[in-house]
Symmetry: C2
Subunit: 339 residues, 2 copies
């Protein structure tokens, strides 16, 4: 049996979130650091707005951590745009070694996972991770221009306009610890419905979660929260069912960033939020502070990504997906041994 779990000795030293107007109007609205009333962030195109969000998010995270760019060794970053230009343009002004990622909506988790390995490995004292998505850039790239006003499916998720930035540092300076990380494998299970990413990603999330429980000997009840980002309502149901069928019931502790960010009754986002920015901003603005305060003690955060290519779908292919896991705990749990 493989043992891919990486035990880390680090934590989140600082995090920041930047969102659009719809996210600011949602149930977590007052927790985000900044928002733009028109989703443009003072820019002339949606793509520039997305890059600007990444810039603001990293600047804000550094500032909240009372850190300078020089205090960070490198940045892992990505987004949903072709060639990941949200990250490339947004972070070009920082004099910071840059490692570009493509993990679709799993990007925040992938970045934090790699940053954790870098800090634990002693290659740098701190490493950053940044991820973003923008409703208007994603709609026109993956579906149709927003102006077209296309009808949306009930299983479709709403791409979050937002960027999250995280500074991973040594344990001593952190109130949220990263205890272990587990990278996921690519899975495709026969879903080619571009309006149902949740279904495409749920098997990957189940696979990573089951591997985690197998490799650690832990069970869901050992955690206060097992949270995916972002399966939405549709994918979340599939995940809990897949887990139940595998003999691991997570329903009592399960949550999803895509279900948390919008008000289901009043905001009309169908199956919930999605996009690299969704899990990034929910983690930065809501989950990490809750862990730091002690409201949550032990959390499994699963970044789920669907590498959905419109071209591959036209060519009849299924949607491949991946899920990366972060095991987080509060500072008071320092003596807790995961395995």
């Amino acid at each position: 049996m493989r043992n891919d779990l990486i035990l880390t000795r680090c934590g989140i030293a600082a995090a920041a979130s930047v969102v659009g107007h719809k996210e600011a109007a949602g149930p977590l609205g007052d927790r985000f650091d900044l928002h733009s009333a028109d989703d443009k962030f003072g820019q002339t195109t949606w793509e520039r707005a997305e890059a600007e969000m990444q810039h603001i998010a990293l600047t804000t995270a550094l500032s909240k951590g009372k850190l300078h760019v020089g205090d960070v060794g490198m940045v892992f970053a990505g987004d949903l745009l072709n060639q990941c230009v949200g990250a490339a343009y947004g972070l070009a002004d920082f004099d910071l070694p840059y490692l570009g990622l493509y993990g679709a909506c799993s990007t925040a988790a992938e970045g934090i996972l790699l940053a954790s390995a870098m800090v634990t490995g002693g290659f740098c004292r701190r490493a950053a991770a940044v991820a973003s998505s923008h409703y208007c850039t994603a709609e026109r790239q993956y579906r149709a221009p927003v102006e077209y006003g296309g009808q949306r499916c009930p299983t479709a998720q709403w791409t979050v306009t937002g960027a999250g930035a995280f500074i991973v540092g040594e344990e001593e300076e952190c109130s949220v610890l990263i205890r272990a990380v587990l990278p996921g494998t690519v899975l495709e299970k026969g879903v080619r419905d571009v309006s149902n990413m949740g279904a495409a990603m749920a098997p990957a999330a189940a696979d990573t979660l089951l591997r985690f429980f197998r490799q650690t000997g832990r069970k869901p009840a050992d955690f206060d929260l097992i949270v995916t980002g972002d399966l939405g309502y549709e994918g979340g149901d599939i995940l809990t069912e897949l887990m139940r069928l595998s003999g691991v019931d997570i329903r009592d502790v399960y949550g999803d960033c895509g279900m948390m960010i919008y008000n289901r009754k009043t905001q009309d986002t169908h199956a919930g939020g999605s996009g690299c920015g969704c899990s990034a901003v929910v983690l930065a603005a809501y989950l990490l502070p809750a862990i730091a305060r002690g409201d949550l003690s032990r959390v499994l955060f699963l970044g789920t990504g669907a590498m959905m290519s419109p071209q591959s779908i036209q060519q009849g292919r299924f949607i491949p997906a991946v899920a990366h896991l972060l095991c987080l705990s509060g500072g008071k749990e320092r003596t807790w041994k995961l395995c």
Copy 2:
């Protein structure tokens, strides 16, 4: 002054290369492990062909290293396709933790850099890196369908059809050692000509190379070869000139994978080869064996990537670029101290 250099203790345990017919007909033709006579690798679309190349490359690398998938802890992979689907589909059949990268043509170097950190950090005994590009997928995505027969600029490079796979392992099992790695920062210096990627990438290459010499106290004469992948003839000239203006003359030891892969006189590729696959296959098939044999002792390999988005160019933006450095040496150089 920043010190971003990461001293690594690992090497390349195995590598493999897969190319198309044009690359097989070039000066390095007989060194590649496999090639397809029609560039289709038995597939029905160019995109499937590219994914198949990644699959074959990793399978071949494992086989050459007498390794099984279970001997490798994770794979870092990417390509030039939107959503990096060459890697996602090509590697989905391997039960292997997957970390998706987007670094444009720097992907092979970025993957090896991160794999090196994982092995050096003790997170896994071996880690793989895979990168690919395909002339026909890149042409239709970035420029125009091949059937259109568009005229090409003299400064344009030819996207290599090829995939390279690398297994990074512990020093003891390797005849080529990775002594240090240096991740690059994103730079954009005012180039927005999509037919001149070399010019867009050269400043990033110069920046990383100058940082390397500053941080190590080394000089070009300490190396047998400083090789970029892939600036081509145009970008290569600019790099050597930028370096000379900065007081570091690399001309005596400089080479470029994009200049090595095609015959300039007979193969009509204008400014040389490019694409994630170019530096990957030249490294796997030509440079690594030369280092293992002792023909080259100390080599600086610089993966250069232009994060060129056709949409950003239409929006008037410059092309951002990045260059990641690997410092390689032969097994006989074990006692040599870089710094």
